[in-house]
Amino acid sequence: MPIDKSMNVLIVDDYKTMLRIIRNLLKQIEFNNVEEASDGAEALSKLRSGNYGLVISDWNMAPMTGLQLLQEVRADGRLKQTPFIMITAESKTENVVAAKAAGVSNYIVKPFNAETLKDKIEKVLGHA
């Protein structure tokens, strides 16, 4: 099934530079409808008021972390099926296990490359 690249994608990171990098990499693979949030709370607010086909989020943010955002998304009746990719520098086993337990769709460790991002998006949206 072809991936609908016109969907809205929400990217969440407290580093503006990282938001800019991910936005540009998404643009290169033809995802042009990209919105940004700088922490979990702002992202949750946008998700509840909008319509997004994919969330790509950092973990280490305040006041709401990426893991808490993921838990909120999975607990929300309307949002719980939204594909959610974690992109983070947290690379310990317990982090991956916790994210998986919370319902993450895929996990990318920073620093990452464009090929990995593309591959994970295709896997996640292919299974969505």
Partner: protein, 214 residues
């Protein structure tokens, strides 16, 4: 020890002179004999164990006094007042400079990306490939920023501990209240930031781990 004995002898002599002045009729030899008898009695009451304990206490006192002198010689005020704030300011400046430089690189890269959209074929592919590599490389700023934040946090912890030691050893007049034990929530325990390469899982390890849940 010889100094202490000498000081005690002087004190004793002074005290005897004082008694002699107040009570000229007092036999000083008698007083000295009484004092000696009292001291001898006291020493006689001490067991070997008590003596060893006293020596230990005396040694401990000497160690504390030496530690105080060594800490004073460290110029600890320089550490908390100058060295650590200087180091953290420098690290903050590094983060700010790299962020500015990264933004400039990204801006140029976006211009190149726009140019790539106006051409076609192999040229467009080469341009896009180059800009992709630049975007990937620019993510260093996020990782270095997180690493530097960890270092700054460590420096601030050291600064706090040094300040507390100064207060404990009486270098400052007011002692600081003891720090409450840091209790991390399960959520906070998962916030470790980037790991050193030899300790980190790479993407292949993470992919294997993720697959193991399926």
């Amino acid at each position: 020890m010889p100094d202490q004995h000498a000081r005690r002898d002087v004190l004793l002599a002074e005290r005897l002179a004082e008694i002699r002045a107040n009570r000229p009729e007092t036999d000083t030899e008698l007083v000295a004999e009484v004092v000696r008898a009292v001291l001898t009695t006291m020493s006689g009451d001490l067991t070997v164990h008590d003596t060893a304990l006293l020596l230990e206490v005396e040694e401990l006192g000497r160690t504390i006094a030496n530690a105080k002198l060594e800490i004073a010689a460290l110029k600890v005020d320089d550490i908390t007042g100058s060295h650590i704030p200087f180091a953290t300011d420098e690290l903050d400046a590094i983060v700010a400079h790299t962020a500015t430089a990264t933004d400039a690189i990204l801006e140029s890269c976006e211009t190149l990306d726009a140019v790539a959209g106006t051409v076609s074929g192999e040229t467009a592919d080469k341009l896009q490939d180059a800009t992709t590599r630049i975007y990937e490389a620019c993510s260093f700023q996020d990782i270095t920023g997180q690493r530097i934040t960890k270092v700054v946090t460590t420096l601030k912890t050291i600064e706090e501990k040094v300040a507390r030691n100064i207060a404990t050893f009486g270098h400052k007049t007011a002692a600081l209240p003891s720090l409450p034990a840091v209790v991390l929530t399960p959520e906070e325990e998962l916030l470790n930031g980037p790991q050193l390469p030899r300790q980190a899982m790479d993407q292949t390890d993470i992919d294997k781990l993720m697959s193991s849940f399926d």
